[in-house]
Symmetry: C2
Subunit: 323 residues, 2 copies
DNA sequence: CTGTTAGCGCCTTCAG
DNA sequence: CTGAAGGCGCTAACAG
């Protein structure tokens, strides 16, 4: 009874109750254990009755596997990463794994520390690390299974999105509306994502037609501050490196009396909910929860290779034909 | 060497290297272990040199403590909870603890499952559970240390915010500006937070002057949809149960041609960043990361009692004197 | 199919 | 202050 209330029932208690050996209980409770159906039934029954709960520390110690994953994100306040955390954690739980999350506060140091701290306690890492350089990342992660998200790193499996294609969708949409001069607001140069998105634009737009703005560092403020420069270029449409930057843009444009989409079409990138709340923003949706689920699967599956997920333009109210 | 690269160095390896016993190594590496300074120094040195890393499964098994915390949040996409996760996790890491996060998807079932799944693997829980009823919560958590956040539950320590006082600040601000008729948009009846905020309003405003709207369920849509009713009341100012609802309100008011703050003052609650981005919203700031840090401290500290954190009105551009 | 036997790596008495 | 011994709860051979 006290064992029951304290959750301290062990397989030995279950075994004793049934008059069988602990190993049989262990096997019966393990998915790949070989026991008779009858035995399994009785064990499961007794386990439930006695309030048995697996002690994973003991299991970890003897198997070396922890059934836990580490998730590294630069900042949970960023909804992009919050959704990744949600997805990863849901998927992991469904597969019987727990997830340790480490918010690395945008610091490569902290990232390293977190990996060091958790590496023996997890079966692998899902890593969101847009900033730190490849070498450092590979070095920190050496010896532990890991998959990186929304980034490609030589030597590590990754889950990414078809950013280039997403950019093409955005530009095709604007061109179809009749826009000839389409600007781009680039994101931080150090970020893999920002780089790829920019490359998508550069690959899609003939060099002479390119109108490049930024790079911005602070997302909203950056967009806000680059809006005046945008107006000076004579562009009739703009694609921003992400949604928050697009919102900054829209905000300043409104202050300047420029109507969106009438006077300026604006497209964001990511497809965050927050960007559709007050200002229904046309945006290229980049999978987040789904990508995280894939990352977890990749980590837990034997043959691990990279995955590229599709992106999708979502047209809302910030784009229209030029007037 | 192979031990080193695989991270499989044990205290025995360190002990052997130094020609001492494993217990001495264990003591030297433990904060409260009693060894000579000289020994400790040598052990620390050898441990570092050999790449020793504590196997927490082994430690857990022998001590029963895991140095891990479970964090239950209803939805990480909600920035309120994302910030809590960030704060909890940062604080825990600083104190040498890891955190398992479980996003319970707003489901009491999932909450229960998560607790069952993690209860033997953590030293305690930090619980954000605005919805599920007290009994269920207490029952699920019985036998494990736990502190609840932004909610009070009989029999559990909690970290809450001075909501009533925050509401008073908001109302005082509006009254000082000259508003006489101040409406309130209530949140979901089932939520502890929504209930407390509403009570704050009810306690602060004489019954005959109260203008109660809602309750809303969907935050943004709810605010959006209640805006017309608000206009019909003749109120010149409104306090919304949270920021997102306030944004919904503002959005619909704009569509109706009602200028904020000129024609209607709006105050939100929570003080989320997202609410200051495009629409600088006057709001009552409710601590999130800080509250989470307190919750972690409470859990890790021996004498655990409840804490109430202050709230603070932050005046921005959505409030003004009535015109 | 089931029982016996050894640990997994660490901490914690108990002696010395 | 340090060493030896035992056990935390579970799994994994190895026999039967």
């Amino acid at each position: 009874m006290s064992a029951r209330t304290t959750g301290r029932t062990t397989i030995h208690d279950v075994a004793a109750d049934l008059g069988i050996s602990a190993s049989t209980v262990s096997r019966a409770l393990s998915p790949q254990g070989v026991v008779s159906d009858e035995t399994r039934r009785r064990v499961e029954d007794a386990a439930a009755r006695l309030g048995y709960r697996l002690n994973s520390a003991a299991r970890n110690l003897s198997t070396g596997r922890t059934h836990a994953l580490g998730l590294l994100v630069p900042d949970l306040r960023n909804p992009f990463f919050a959704e990744i955390a949600k997805g990863a954690q849901n998927r992991a739980r469904a597969r019987g794994h727990a997830v340790y999350v480490a918010d690395t506060n945008l610091s490569a140091e902290t990232e390293l520390e977190a990996v060091e701290m958790m590496r023996r306690d997890v079966d692998g890492f899902v890593v969101c690390s847009p900033w730190s350089d490849d070498e450092r990342l590979v070095a920190a992660l050496s010896g532990v299974p890991a998959v990186v998200m929304h980034r490609e790193v030589e030597g590590l499996p990754s889950v990414t999105a078809a950013l280039h294609d997403g950019m093409r969708q955005a530009l095709d949409h604007l061109r179809a509306l009749g826009h000839a001069r389409i600007a781009y607001v680039a994101g931080p140069a150090g970020s893999w994502n920002a780089r790829e998105r920019r490359r998508g634009y550069e690959a899609e737009v003939p060099e002479v037609e390119q109108v490049m703005l930024g790079p911005v560092v602070d997302q909203f403020e950056g967009g806000f501050s680059v809006a005046d420069a945008l107006l000076a270029t004579g562009a009739t449409a703009v694609v921003a490196y992400n949604d928050i930057t697009a919102l900054g843009l829209v905000s300043r444009l409104a202050a300047r009396g420029v109507r969106v989409p009438k006077d300026m079409s604006v497209i964001g990138f990511d497809g965050l909910d927050v960007a559709t709340l007050a200002n229904p923003l046309t945006s290229v949706s980049v999978p987040r929860a789904l990508a995280a689920e894939h990352a977890v699967d990749l980590l837990l599956r034997p043959g691990t290779s990279s995955v590229v997920l599709p992106t999708q333009l979502v047209v809302r109210e910030s784009t229209a034909a030029p007037s």
